[in-house]
């Protein structure tokens, strides 16, 4: 064990290992942040995207990072509620059950590009007689465009881009026409203070109307949004703890069991060894991925079931042959003979004398194995066998693929999870390779 500690200390002398460790530390920090800032239940609820959860986010918006590039000034999402301070609201009661309500929502628009869409969400309180509302749009240069008049239900949504008649009146797509500078050929947005005014007529004494105006941006959040308007930050954040847990548990589980079995085989020899060897050969021709697919389709897609199966299939992995070759010479070492002389039992020898001898050699392998399991999780997700609930990097990639993200040019959708996966893979691999050079003296000379 001291051997192990000095070896780990030696990592300092390898620049690549330091970079790798920095990557891993960042990931762990990200994972911890995810777990603390966004409890698992919330993350799952958000990712399931039930009704009303992602109303205020745009569809397929790029990350805000895009705006940090000089010269880029894409529209961001703006939400204005009638409860906001800037909003004005007045009610004039004409009789007991007849009132006029005036709501005006200001929208400060300062971007060089048009929004993706504009929606108005209307909520009304009423007993029997539904309120009535008329929407109008005021531009900074003083034009007024009538939008729509309608009788309100409890909840109503007015989708500007879906208003065909408005589009016809404006001569272009409606959500662009509303922000367009008039009298010039090109589509250039007019900057300044817009205003949505809602004139409501209430027919009941207790009636009320609430309005929310959402101008959807072309960029949103640190990671952008997907086809279901979900903010990808949720999945990218939560992907970190899931990937780390899956990778580390799978690597530990399969390596340690393999090691124990190899040691048992070497120590007991004869038929035990023979059986273990045959099982290893059998395991080598079992197609792991198709088997995982089979289990995922027929039984459960839960990531923990998959983890169990991955470990189970990894128990008799070909690593046994490697460990066996390392352990065979140790078997006849004098110190083991000494242990037998003092009366150590078989399992004591296996666990206390044989296995610790090869642990330093295993550590680099273990570290390099972690990313391959992280990628395995992504692979399963890409096959459509991702965990049904958890947001993971692989599931984001799968969504992106299914929606043809690369084809349609939504590169951020693929790049976000891919870069994080790459980051994880490189981090562990760099540390693993450095450890390999430290613990395998024959490599160190090269």
């Amino acid at each position: 064990m001291r051997n192990l500690r000095t070896g780990l200390k030696e990592l300092r002398h390898y620049p690549s290992a330091i970079v790798g460790l920095a990557f891993i530390a960042t990931l762990v920090a990200l994972a911890l942040y995810a777990v603390i800032a966004l409890p698992l239940d919330d993350a799952i609820r958000l990712w399931r995207a039930g009704e009303g959860i992602w109303e205020d986010t745009p569809r397929n918006a790029s990350p805000v990072l895009l705006n940090w590039w000089p010269g880029n000034n894409h529209a961001e999402t703006i939400v204005v509620r009638c409860s906001d301070e800037a909003a004005t609201r007045s009610m004039e009661r004409l009789s007991d059950d007849f009132a006029i309500i005036d709501i005006s929502l200001p929208l400060e628009f300062t971007y060089d590009g048009f929004p993706d869409d504009v929606r108005v969400f209307l909520e009304a309180d009423y007993e029997e007689r539904r309120p009535h509302a008329a929407l109008a749009w005021k531009t900074p240069d003083g034009r007024e465009i009538e939008l729509e008049e309608r009788t309100l239900g409890e909840r109503a949504t007015y989708v500007v881009s879906g208003d065909r008649r408005l589009a016809e009146r404006l001569g272009t797509e409606a959500h662009i026409g509303l922000f367009r500078q008039p009298d010039i050929e090109d589509d250039v947005p007019l900057k300044g203070r817009y205003e949505l005014s809602v004139e409501g007529i209430l027919f009941e004494p207790e009636g009320d109307v609430r309005v929310r105006l959402v101008s959807y941006g072309r960029v949103h959040g640190l990671a952008g949004t997907d086809h279901r308007r979900r903010d990808l930050t949720v999945a990218l954040l939560w992907g970190a703890p899931v990937a780390l847990a899956f990778g580390i548990l799978a690597a530990l589980g399969s390596t340690l069991t393999t090691l124990v079995i190899a040691a048992v085989g070497v120590w007991f020899g004869r038929w035990v060894d023979a059986v273990i060897q045959r099982l290893t050969e059998l395991n080598a021709i079992l197609p792991v991925l198709p088997l995982l697919v089979l289990i995922g389709t027929l039984y459960s897609r839960s990531i923990w079931v998959m983890l169990g199966v991955v470990i189970a299939l990894g128990v008799f992995s070909l690593g046994i042959k490697v460990y066996r070759a390392m352990l065979l010479p140790v078997r006849n070492a004098p110190y083991i003979e000494a242990a037998r002389a003092y009366g150590a039992g078989n399992f004591r020898i296996v666990f206390r004398y044989l296995i610790p001898r090869v642990i330093p050699v295993i550590v680099p392998q273990l570290v390099t194995l972690i990313p391959s399991y992280v990628f395995l999780e992504a692979t399963l997700a890409l096959l459509g066998l991702g965990d049904p609930l958890l947001p993971t990097w692989g599931k984001v990639l799968q969504d992106a693929f299914q929606q043809g993200a690369l084809y349609k040019g939504y590169y951020y959708w693929v790049l976000g999870p891919a870069l994080l996966l790459m980051f994880t893979g490189l981090g562990f691999a760099m540390v693993g390779f450095a450890l390999d050079r430290i613990f395998n003296p024959r490599l160190r000379e090269l």
């Binding site: 021709i285 697919v293 690369l406 490189l426 691999a429």
Partner: protein, 367 residues
């Protein structure tokens, strides 16, 4: 000729090789049988294979009764009862009422002979529902892509590694070492980036698929189109696998080059080329072949996902389609066919190993 000592020796070697091949093939066949049996056990844990069979019987019986015009005049309850009885009879005849142990061996026989039943949703291009036909149709596409890729990675890494070990410590050597960690990412991962660069941004290569639509009618344009579609998947497999194997073999050769007998050869004044051929490559060939076998196995698994990313109409893509449609017979069959493919790979490389390893040829079993 047979009387000459050389001929005798050849005869003995041949016999020994034959014996070895036989033993290995029996061992591997037993392994495949056990592997497939395990697959069946796993698949049928919830009675899924039984369900497939039952559904099939139901379909057949239903079709037969629909065709019978006389039956159509009967009331529908009677027809239903009749059908139930028929299904019961049929499943008894097929042994579905027998204990699971017996049934599992029936399934095993069917699976081993690739008598895999009918797909529920997937069809072959010729319109057949026979799982065997569907799989046989997809197999060539997979082989066309993956056999060249595996050979390419293998050959380039062996000869590149020899080259690097000669220039150990050079800039190129260091660059390869520095790039080694990138190989932890699987090929499909690089596939995504390649698609992004060459298909999305530069628009010079296709996004995926095996041949352009509609497929060219003449042979030459057809082949060229397939080759064009192969560039990106091949490239991503190459990038995904090359650095780690270059690193591995380079280190392997370097360690080997410090053996005493290599030093001896060098002291004799042999040229570097001769030393590489006779003293480094020749004695390490069995090891090289063995690890090639292992890399082939991992590549097979990687191929599944690569086919999905590149929309390549091979076995992996079939498996993916089957998952999407919940087509159990096809999924079970895919597992079986992959088990066969892996065993076949191991078998072929075993034979090559035997040809290369003098210990096997001389009938001397190593330590």
């Amino acid at each position: 000729m047979n009387d000459s000592p050389l001929g005798k020796q050849w005869g003995r070697t041949l016999r020994r090789m034959g014996w070895y091949t036989l033993r290995r093939s029996v061992a591997l066949f037993v392994t495949v049988v056990i592997g497939v049996y395990l697959t069946i056990l796993i698949a049928n844990m919830g009675g899924h294979v039984d369900e497939i069979r039952l559904a099939q019987i139901r379909e057949q019986v239903g079709a037969r009764m629909m065709a019978d015009e006389q039956l159509q005049t009967l009331p529908s309850e009677v027809i239903r009862d009749l059908m139930e009885r028929e299904v019961q009879l049929e499943s008894r005849r097929l042994g579905l009422d027998r204990p699971f142990i017996v049934r599992s061996f029936l399934y095993l026989r069917n699976a081993l002979t690739l008598n895999l039943g009918r797909a529920e949703h997937v069809t072959s291009d010729t319109g057949s529902r026979q799982v065997r036909l569907i799989i046989l149709e997809r197999l060539p596409a997979t082989l066309i892509l993956f056999a060249p890729a595996q050979l390419l990675v293998f050959l380039v890494s062996i000869f590149g590694a020899l080259f690097l070990s000669r220039r150990y410590g050079s800039v190129l050597d260091r660059a390869v070492i520095a790039l080694t960690p990138t190989s932890t990412a699987p090929a499909w991962f690089y596939g995504i980036f390649l698609i992004l660069i060459f298909a999305s941004v530069l628009r010079v290569l296709p996004f995926g698929g095996m041949v352009r639509t509609p497929p060219p009618e003449q042979t030459l344009p057809y082949v060229l189109s397939v080759l064009r579609h192969m560039v990106l998947p091949l490239g991503s497999m190459f990038i995904g696998g090359i650095f780690i194997s270059l690193y591995y073999w380079r280190t392997f050769f370097l360690i080997h080059a410090s053996e005493d007998y290599v030093e001896m050869a060098r002291a004799k004044g042999l040229s570097p080329g001769q030393i590489e051929r006779r003293y480094i490559l020749r004695p390490t060939l069995p090891t090289i072949v063995t690890s090639f076998a292992l890399s082939v196995i991992t590549l097979w698994m990687g191929s599944i996902i690569l086919e999905i990313v590149f929309n390549w109409p091979g076995l992996g893509r079939l498996l993916f389609e089957a998952i999407g449609l919940f087509d159990t017979p096809v999924i079970v069959a895919s597992v079986v066919i992959y088990a066969y493919l892996l065993a076949l790979t191991v078998f072929l490389l075993d034979i090559i190993y035997a040809l290369l390893d003098p210990r096997v040829r001389a009938g001397h079993q190593g330590a």
